[in-house]
Symmetry: C2
Subunit: 427 residues, 2 copies
């Protein structure tokens, strides 16, 4: 017994389990929980990508099913044989098992659109990109899952591809995935297991206030800095685009500040697992805490510049606090002030599982505006929202991810600001 036991071994050996004879994903992974699924990704060292399904992915926006775009690294890890320019537009057929909905899909096509390397074809559009297509009947092409977090994870061993998927079923599952990932899954972004954070060499990152090295800046500190650098007064495009631009910059700045704050604490390693995990979770929690208030700061700045009358975080009924009340909490609570001139705006990066909270946020206001960055909402969910008096407000560039028949009922940010101005300037 003695030397088969734990403490006698000095050197660790390879930590991979031996390969199984044959894979049977449906049997191996049926009924697993999300935590177990995530554990498998880590343990098997799968290559994974995580994104929120957009209206284009799920097929809200019409017939042309172009499938899911995947980056080159994903294909290299999961279906390496398709990554070739020896063949014109090569295709390989693979299967994917999706334990979240117990769905096994065969006949998925891994495609490399590589006509860029075939100039002799004289095609107008030069493609050099990878896609996974033919998801019909799976949760990835279910319009009701628009906005849901989707994980695709796979590996190729001995020439055989194993591909698994997960499409979140609830806000709790999304929280869990985001905790595991260590950051919020933003609409329109893709997150990869090979976390090469590409170093951005933006000049603004070299001009951050030195005081931020001493004390980590608040969300408002960071936003004020961005507002100064991207003032609305000199912005020539729409406020919809201004908001998106500033959000991008905010992410880059936050990452840079975080790097300066955290690297000195992690570069020398840890001797305790608990300390290691605790510190990592502090850093992740700070991200989450900041992400939670970012959108409000962006909107507030634009409203202020546009000289709208508004108040943030007014308590309406019980403990309900819509993000913005127009024109003010005092007017809201003054029964003599006409309800028709009261407005509200809630802001939620993603609205899929959380829009219902908005319904009860302000009893006096019939039409409740909800600003979101989610790329698409199904017709069914939109119908439900509008029945409950919700009006969506989204940045103009993402309006194309919504169903055709609703595009005229969805406001862009410019339209919303005009709407409030008109209301506040009338009478």
């Amino acid at each position: 017994m003695a030397c088969d036991s734990f403490m006698c071994i000095g050197n660790r050996q390879g930590s991979e389990k031996p390969e199984k004879e044959e894979m049977n994903p449906e049997k191996d992974y049926k009924n697993i929980s999300l935590t177990q699924f995530l554990e498998i990704l880590d343990q098997k060292r799968f290559f994974w990508l995580i994104k929120r399904l957009s209206g284009n992915d799920t097929g809200i926006t019409g017939g042309h099913q172009s499938g899911i775009y995947v980056p080159r690294q994903f294909m290299e890890a999961v279906v390496p044989s398709v990554v070739t320019t020896e063949e014109y537009n090569p295709t390989r057929e693979i299967s994917c098992y999706i334990p979240s909905q117990d769905c096994l899909k065969t006949g998925i096509q891994a495609k490399y659109y590589n006509n860029k390397y075939f100039p002799e074809k004289e095609l107008k559009k030069k493609y050099d990109e990878f896609r996974l297509t033919r998801w019909v009947g799976t949760p990835l092409q279910d319009v009701e899952n628009t906005g849901s977090i989707c994980i695709l994870a796979g590996a190729c061993r001995n020439g055989e591809t194993e591909l698994l998927g997960w499409v979140s079923n609830s806000a709790e599952e999304e929280d869990l995935i985001e905790y595991w990932l260590g950051k919020d899954v933003e609409p329109g972004q893709m997150y990869l297991s090979s976390a090469q954070t590409e170093r951005k060499e933006l000049p603004i990152l070299k001009q951050l206030p030195v005081a931020w090295l001493k004390a980590f800046p608040s969300g408002r500190d960071i936003f004020n800095f961005i507002e100064e650098r991207f003032p609305q007064s000199s912005w020539t495009r729409s406020i919809d685009e201004l908001l998106l631009k500033r959000r991008d910059v905010e992410f880059d700045i936050f990452s840079e500040v975080e790097k300066h704050d955290v690297i000195p604490n992690i570069k020398d390693g840890f001797s305790s697992v608990d300390e290691f995990i605790k510190y990592a979770n502090s850093v992740a929690n700070r991200r989450k805490s900041r992400a939670g208030t970012s959108l409000e700061l962006h909107l507030e700045s634009i409203f202020r510049y546009e000289q709208l009358k508004f108040e943030a975080q007014v308590v309406t009924e019980q403990n309900k606090k819509p993000d913005f009340i127009f024109p003010s909490g005092k007017d809201y609570h003054n029964p003599a002030f006409p309800s028709t001139k009261l407005h509200m705006l809630a802001s939620k990066t993603c609205c899929k599982d959380r829009w219902r909270q908005v319904i009860s946020e302000a009893d006096r206001i019939e039409k409740k505006h909800l600003f979101t960055l989610q790329q698409g909402v199904s017709s069914n969910q939109l119908a439900e929202m509008y029945q409950h008096g919700i009006v969506l407000v989204v940045p103009q560039p993402i309006i194309t991810t919504f169903p055709d028949e609703y595009r005229t009922k969805i406001m862009n940010l410019t339209g919303f600001v005009d709407f409030i101005k008109t209301s506040q300037n009338a009478g």
Copy 2:
């Protein structure tokens, strides 16, 4: 501008913000979210403790309000002046603000029961312990919060104590706290910010299978090992105590295996924040994944030894899967099998926010047994549970944390096993 900016500075300076003139916790922390609260604990380097409120804490179990036990380190960090043996049973009055329920409590007593150092008093019981008492009217002494996670966090600067509290309001808040902490908050355990994981020198930790160094063992691997070392056949006390003992050992073994697996990967440090966080979350997720199935393995082993007829994870209606069905899924789905001889057991470490899920887990079974380790449930919640046909099963040693009038209606594990045996042996 140039040299006030970010990249010019070689050396980091102290990262503490300057002290505020005066503290006003109610104003500073009113309306903050839980993520913000946790961010403050990290940023201000508060000393904190986390525990689930037991029936003894909240006052379920009768009149004698002894307050919350706190360890010496907590008092040294938060109310250092009370840590003295110059004075007999010293007491200091402090305040605590609890943003989760917007509750400011003054007149809390920080007490050091130190009669151990005063032999001249000739008292029978020798005390050497610290307590915070007089929480009446706060969420900490609200019986409905029994089982909820409570955080107490504080610091003492320039002789002034600042103390904050948080009592979780929902399962989502508990998830968030557990993610932030990096582990599940088990009933009866206390977690401290000074995470000195005391090295346990248990002999069993030196006898773990060497194969576990190569491939991280599954939950079942670990449990089988424990079962072998603590066989029921040679256990002389109750099965209630056997289960608790094995659980303790399981925690110790898991930590030891985890340490061997993780330390080599963290000891040399990280150069990327994302990689650092991602790896930490993988480790934390593995903990969570294992914790989720542990209790079932423990119960299953005991049921098997007792030769009960049962089946785990049977699908009953829709997708409902109670943890255990007695005697089998086949009998459950056989309409000719009498319902009165069908039983089920759900197992939940904590049941406060999750017991309602059990109500609909098996339509044919009227009395639904629920095994929990939660230390106490309020009379109101118990009344609701029993109205819905739930019968609690708890390990005998914690039955004293439940309200007097319910103790006869709550089964211990031995009683539950006897109950099933009787049912299965009759007729």
